[in-house]
């Protein structure tokens, strides 16, 4: 089987933003994404993982990863998330190089 170069975008953000971020991802033509509940610390506050009782479960983080075939789409997802979501909410975005199998499963770009 042959491996093809592709880009992964990782977004770490407050849970409350999930649906908005997923919309951005889909509107950029990505065919899928993976979400993992996370805790973390950053410029803002401690976000606990959602294991322990917490009055504000919605403020825990999610880690969303999306793989797309080309760099420009990855960058566009990353930029749009930062511009539209992170003005008032905490979060980070980064890109990575990956190699995928079955490239037709990913975005058409």
């Amino acid at each position: 089987m042959k491996f093809y170069k592709a880009k992964k975008v990782v977004i770490i953000a407050e849970k409350i933003l999930s649906s908005k971020i997923c919309e951005i991802i889909e509107s950029n033509g990505a065919r899928g994404y993976t979400v993992v509940p996370a805790g973390g610390k950053g410029a803002h506050n401690m976000h606990y993982t959602s294991e322990r009782a917490s009055v504000v479960d919605d403020f825990s983080n999610v880690r969303i990863e999306v793989i797309v075939k080309n760099k420009s789409i990855a960058e566009s997802i990353g930029s749009q998330v930062v511009e539209n979501c992170f003005e008032n909410y905490s979060g980070i975005v980064y890109l990575e190089d990956v190699e995928i199998l079955r490239p037709d499963k990913f975005n058409g770009g």
Binding site: I16, N45, R52, A53, V55, V56, D58, F59, E87
Partner: protein, 335 residues
Amino acid sequence: MDFLGDFFLRFVVQFQSPTLGFLIGGMLVAALGSKLKIPNAIYQFIVFMLLMKIGLKGGIEIREANLAAMALPAFFSILIGVLIVRVGVTLFGMLPGINKTDGLATAGLFGAVSASTLAVAIVMLEEEAIFFEAWAPALYPFMDIPALILAIVLANIHLKKQKEGKDTKVNVWQIIKDSLRGSALSALILGLALGLLTNSGNVLESFYEPLFRGFLSILMLIMGMEAYDRIKELRSVAHWYAIYAGVAPLMHGLIAFGLGYVAHLLVGFSPGGVVILAVMASSNSDISGPPTLRAGIPSANPSAYIGASTSVGTPVSIAIGIPLFIALAQIVFGL
């Protein structure tokens, strides 16, 4: 003097109530660095159980209730929700170093209602055998929603003024929907509807009622642990939030007590109902309020409003507010 004496007596007794004991126990446990934790799944389940019980009970008894009597207290609830936010804005406006939107979000949270504090009040009233209309806890959304809406609308008008260019429309209907869809109000309203429309007396008596007090004790433990854990967040913001959070619950409760007394004179609102109204005003939303505000006023710093409410507001309204309003009722209404 007599009142003060009675109040202190009651206050001391209250400190022996297991409810308060669990609250303080939770704070101590967290302060001492214990690894004890109640899983989040249990917390969410307990909150659901308590609201379901309150809702079912209300729904069942509303059937026979004269709902006309509910009109004035419901109107007063709306009034109180709005008033608390207005007063909060004015107060925070006078204080130095307060970001306007942070102040608005805090005032909104204190105008909104806490289901757990309400549950404690219900248990205390039952223990003291003070009657209240079964629909009284159903006044909850009438105070909660207007407070949240007003805070969010005011914050957005303020932001719009600041940056003319960007047009931030406020969708009031969206805020109402968000509030009603929050897990707390959903559970309460679902319970009310099931109580009203189905024969749920059996399941209420055999399941939801017997577990009520026990689950409340665990909820208090969680609230206590959270109160301590969030103090650090409170420290990161202006100390005015802590001061407001210490004073506002009693002030709000007393205003509501006054209006409740008016309703007592005009439409015979029960003494227990007056206490419920005061406790709702005194409480601050701990379940649905924070996410609604986070979404509605994203630029407000959650540490300000959550720190203030969880670490100071809730303990004050449970440990001082509830016994105060009950003692007041006993004296005013000669119970």
